[in-house]
Symmetry: none
Subunit: 221 residues, 2 copies
């Protein structure tokens, strides 16, 4: 999962980056409204965290521009003054969620999870596909036979991305984009290696190879 953080307060950025990374997200930061709006249209993000008080272009403006352009990126708005009025404005502009400062990182993480799940399925704590349960807090997966496996960070991120995008061909380069930062080496076979590990845990049938195209994680099979 790749998250866009649009925020100008360096201190806040620093304090958010680590926990977000720990939760298995790749984070890109935009420090002003114009850059933020641009990046948010890139179509590689799964979610944006948008501060309202930004230099160059106001957060609400950024948000409503996205929506005008039919960009459906899930957005969590951050604001210093959490007034009733502001909140209404935020949602009117198309925010999916709203969080007043100061806030606890845990709350933000929880809202992120909720928001990412919302577009896929009914809200719930775990990601479920068929008889597969992924506990996102503990990064543990429970398979059909009731066995649990702790996942390494990369295994977890890959599986989560699959679970949030079932029944769709995901090319290796798309997977790389969502798992790693931009500087990643394109012609390595890391993805293949991790697919193999996931298959060992989940069973071979679950992830189908489409030669020359990518992989499909099958919701049911």
């Amino acid at each position: 999962m790749r998250i866009l953080l649009v925020e100008d307060d360096r201190e806040l950025i620093a304090s958010l980056k680590k926990p977000l990374k720990e939760a298995g997200y790749v984070v890109d930061v935009a420090e002003d409204g114009i850059e933020g709006e641009y990046l948010g249209n890139e179509d590689i993000y799964d979610l944006a965290i948008l501060d309202l008080g930004l230099p160059k272009r106001n957060g609400l403006e950024v948000l409503s521009n996205w929506r005008k352009a039919d960009n459906k990126l899930p957005v969590i708005v951050l604001t210093a003054r959490d007034t009733w009025q502001e909140r209404v404005d935020g949602f009117k502009s198309g925010a999916d969620d709203y969080l007043g400062k100061p806030f606890h990182v845990e709350e933000l993480l929880a809202r992120i999870t909720a928001l990412l799940h919302r577009s896929i399925q009914s809200p719930g704590k775990s990601l479920i596909s068929g008889d597969l349960i992924l506990d996102e807090d503990r990064q543990i997966v429970t398979t059909e036979d009731g066995q649990t496996h702790t996942l390494t960070s990369t295994e977890f991120r890959l599986l989560r991305y699959f679970l949030l995008n079932t029944d769709t061909i995901l090319s290796k380069s798309r997977l790389t984009d969502h798992l790693y930062n931009f500087d990643s080496d394109k012609d390595s076979n890391v993805i293949e290696a991790y697919i193999k590990r996931l298959r060992k845990i989940l069973g071979k049938e679950r992830i189908e190879t489409r030669r020359g195209q990518g992989y499909i994680f099958k919701e049911s099979w």
Copy 2:
């Protein structure tokens, strides 16, 4: 699908070719405005990606020449300076879409898909013709009897091209042009081989042979 990329930046060309190819497009490159304008009139392209800053002839000029000649080729314009003014100019010259540099490849791909669909038929995730459904996410086709078949990359591209051009005679060389690069061997029978495979999946009647001319994919029969 065959895409004309008019771009002089070798590095950008290199970074675009692979993902475009992965997405199932054949890509030809013109490195200056004059060559680009010429190729764009060849009537074999389904879409052009046109940079504005080109040697020999400016991109906007190329575009407006095409339009003057009543060439309706869908065009996505790339520009280094993404200003309001430039955007307006681009659309006035007949661009179908506009993308400022730098951009992420996935956005370009999304816009290509959107544009191809827009220019040919109503938007939708699946291409439908008669009782035939082509799921582009999964590259699966569902036939009249409700059976689904997974397609290989070439089968998919060929079928998609047929579905986007139903009830039209498509010559073998035109099909070859859209599936392969120019240097492809002209007197091979690959197309015949793939027609056979498609017929096996879809039924014989669906694709009619016009001896000496090509094939017709029939919308209904």
